[in-house]
């Protein structure tokens, strides 16, 4: 028992740091081989954020522009949003649209999504691409337009449409463009693999992004745990105006806000975004996608995904067509069924357990971990919080998780908000270091959900209250108006002695008048308009 305590103590010592944690990296196994192309699966599932879905983020909402049964070519536009700058979805290969259907939620906390099921064929017939003759001559707005048409979104994980982000940045007059190559999750290696193998494309993409967002300078940031990528990048950066910065490995150094602070020594205001302090942050993968979109006019139809975990025989990075089912990739890596207990989508610190192995790779999926309890032990039983404050030390947002937990438990809403629940980025560093194994992120998510619900119900009640008050006002107004109406009622009463025949004659005369007028007007106008006259 004592020996175990000392072992654990020293194991922990190397991993703690201020404003974050330093978990051991587990990227080596997936970086042993090069990025592999993916053989096309039989069918692809291309998720849409549905327009009918009221809970979808506005810029995510796209509607299909193909029908069930249509044959589509590779690169053909499948779905797009109504608003300018919203996302687009292209066919990763040629095939037939088999269905547009609801697919079950991939993980807890997600909703079932609408998706296009594409039966792929082996021809891979593609639309001719029309790359610009000289991409260097393009104006910034044209570059952004190309990026928008290619349907690129932030490939780091947040998935915000890149064109939108750039336009926002241009509006706010950004000075610095940061290309984010800092990999802070222990397992994910897709950005590092990309840098190792396609450093020059990254640099070109970064230059194009810089031209598009009109930034004065551009920095590519990586961490100090990727020497091979650093070497490749240094080589690719020769003769370029872009500079390279290496930051210390720390989770979550790759978070936008952390990066802005590390590079520009400025903090992004609480409710703001990096452009508010003159910085635009883009991911390495996004930079490469931008290069492809502008130089080759190629839409974003694939991304690099890390496949790793102890249940896989050969972990590696794949260049995966969007919509590929996870199980297809697992098979390619050789999954050991006896070892395979669960699959994680995303990293082990911010990802989710996959409920469905058939869930597709999306534009924001960077990693799939097939693992078991030996490698990633089950979360231990929650114990009492002893306010040790390790979580506060680890919090990159500089919050006090121990205080937050107490106020969430006692349901003090104001206090919870004052302690900065909305500033929490859910990185989970606090829960990782917690010696009492309190799943703090679950608490935050639940509290955020409750606050959101309370807020909407509050808004709704306000809305209905306003409606009711207006109703009352209208009733009162009508009552007031009823006073002069008495005169009208008087005349009606006086006219009570009318004869039925006379009324009939008057009605038939009116009908006749209408008919005559209709005939007079040559049928050009529609009758509805006449009626209203």
């Amino acid at each position: 028992m004592i020996r175990q305590a000392f072992t654990d103590l020293f194991a922990r010592l190397g991993s703690t740091t201020r404003r974050g944690i330093r978990p051991p990296t587990l990227r080596e196994s997936s970086l042993r081989s090069r990025i592999m192309p993916t053989p096309m699966p039989d069918q692809l599932l291309l998720p849409l954020q549905d327009y009918a879905d009221p809970l979808a983020r506005e810029h995510d909402r796209i509607a299909p522009c193909v029908d069930v049964g249509d044959w589509v070519a590779k690169y053909q536009l499948l779905a797009k949003g109504k608003e300018p700058g919203s996302l687009r979805l292209h066919a990763p290969t040629s095939g037939t649209v088999q269905a547009i259907e609801q697919i079950p939620a991939a993980a807890i906390g997600q909703r079932p999504q609408l998706a296009i099921r594409l039966l792929t064929d082996t021809d891979e017939r593609e639309l001719p691409l029309e790359p610009p003759s000289d991409y260097r001559a393009l104006a910034p707005e044209q570059l952004v337009q190309l990026i928008e048409e290619a349907g690129i979104c932030g490939l780091g994980g947040a998935g915000y449409p890149t064109a939108r982000k750039i336009r926002d940045a241009v509006e706010k007059n950004v000075k610095t463009l940061i290309i984010n190559g800092v990999e802070c999750e222990p397992y994910i290696s897709c950005d590092e693999a990309l840098l190792r193998e396609r450093a020059s494309l990254t640099v070109k993409g970064a230059e194009l992004l810089q031209a598009a967002c009109l930034a004065d300078d551009c920095v590519i940031v990586i961490d100090n745990a990727m020497p091979a990528a650093r070497k490749a990048l240094t080589l690719a950066l020769q003769g370029s105006s872009i500079s390279l910065r290496v930051v210390h490995r720390r989770y979550p150094a790759g978070d936008e806000r952390q990066l802005v602070k590390a590079i520009c020594r400025r903090e992004v205001p609480g409710e703001g975004h990096p452009p508010d302090v003159g910085v635009l942050v883009q991911n390495i993968g996004t930079a490469v996608a931008v290069y492809e979109a502008i130089v080759h006019a190629k839409p974003c139809i694939s991304r690099i995904v890390t496949l790793t975990g102890s249940a896989l025989l050969t972990p590696k990075n794949f260049d995966v067509p969007i919509g590929t089912p996870v199980q297809h990739l697992l098979k390619l890596c050789g999954v050991d069924d006896k070892e395979h207990e669960f699959t994680i989508r995303g990293g082990s610190l911010m990802g989710q357990y996959l409920l469905e192995q058939s869930a597709p790779i999306e534009k924001t999926t960077n990693c799939i971990i097939a693992s078991n309890s030996l490698e990633i032990p089950e979360w231990e039983t929650e114990q009492a919080c002893i306010r040790c404050g390790y979580c506060a030390q680890a919090c990159p947002a500089q919050l006090q998780p121990q205080q937050l937990l107490a106020s969430i438990r006692s349901e003090e809403r104001q206090q919870t908000l004052a302690l900065g629940l909305d500033d929490c980025i859910e990185c989970g560093a606090c829960a990782v270091v917690c010696p009492s194994r309190i799943p703090l992120v679950s608490y935050y998510r639940a509290a955020k959900e409750i606050h959101r619900e309370e807020f909407t119900s509050h808004e709704q009640s306000r809305h209905w209250q306003a409606r009711f008050q207006y109703h009352q006002y209208r009733l009162k107004k009508n009552q007031d108006r009823a006073q002069p109406r008495k005169a009208v009622e008087q005349t009606v009463k006086e006219a009570q002695g009318f004869s039925r025949d006379q009324a009939r004659m008057e009605i038939s005369a009116a009908v006749e008048r209408v008919r005559r007028r209709r005939q007079a007007l040559a049928g050009g106008k529609d009758p509805g308009q006449e009626k209203s006259q």
Binding site: D8, I108, V268, G272, R387, C388
Partner: protein, 370 residues
Amino acid sequence: MKQRLFSSSPMQFFPLQTSQIMLLVILATLPAMLVSTWFFGYGVVLNVLFASLIGLLCEAAICRIRGRAVRATLADNSCLLTAVLFGMTIPPGTTWWLIAMGMVFAIALVKHAYGGLGQNTFNPAMAGYLFLLLAYPLDMTSWHLPVAAQDFTSTHSPLGWQGLLQSLGCLFPFLPVLGDGLTVDGLAMATPLIESKLAAGNAIRAAMEEGYGLFARRAETGWELVNVAWLLGGLFLLATRLISWHIPLSMIAATLVMSLLYYSPSAAAVLGTPYLHLLGSATMMGAFFIATDPVSAATGSRAKIAYGLIIGVSLYSIRVWGSYLDAVAIAVLFGNFCAPLLDRLLAPRKYGHPGFFAKLLGNISRRKIT
């Protein structure tokens, strides 16, 4: 498996549990316990053992009553740690029912009545000790040591079997172990937490002048070494980051600054020397083991520093100008009173939000404009 799929990120966690932290802190008290035993005989160990027994029994009973998992609660080692600290603060040779009373007060009232581990406002060990001090001041200031521990000329060692019997006899007066004409001497002197108005310091000086070595078994000279042992344990906690530097450093610094500020060679007998204030009493134990109890202390870095300063200053004040015998326990409890407020007032600046002073400046400038 199924249950796991419904849990939220993160999936990984660092080793080291709360129970292991408690265990390591208990281990860190070992040097002090060894040195104390060397100087004062088995009374210290017996105190700790008996307090642990009572504490565990008491906690088990309360968990039963509260409908909590008995085994899991006892396994978190927090009760043991309380018992160890409590046992080492009360004088060796205290009668069993006093220890039992203090421990039950600490566990039942101070800890569980407030909601159990993590909920108590006050440090249970210190509250338990203070309860005994207020109720039985005489017993809490007189040490019953084996004869050999007081009389350095004695041929017996207090660590011999006779010393053990004598200590047992003190703990359980009803046992007939003291039959062979062995007696236990009562000595009114400073407990680790009690300054006894600096009498110990004078005694140390006298003993040194008489030419006894540091390790000569004289209760008075033992204090420095006991303190050094506490310091060693504390440095271990600090080096392994089980505690942060904020509280111990600020508390020691405050004590040092206060004692330097008021130091004058002529009044040293009354006000004490800085050396005496740091090593002649329980400052080290208080700074590294008592004030750093996370449950009842402040948690933010700035709040922790303020907390340490408050304890340090009040420690000195109570020692020198106060009428109470004890300083550390009262100072720590006073700090406990302040902790929640400190946490609130000195909350760390959140990322992307103005800090305390920026807000203040913002308010002032806004006021000027309007």
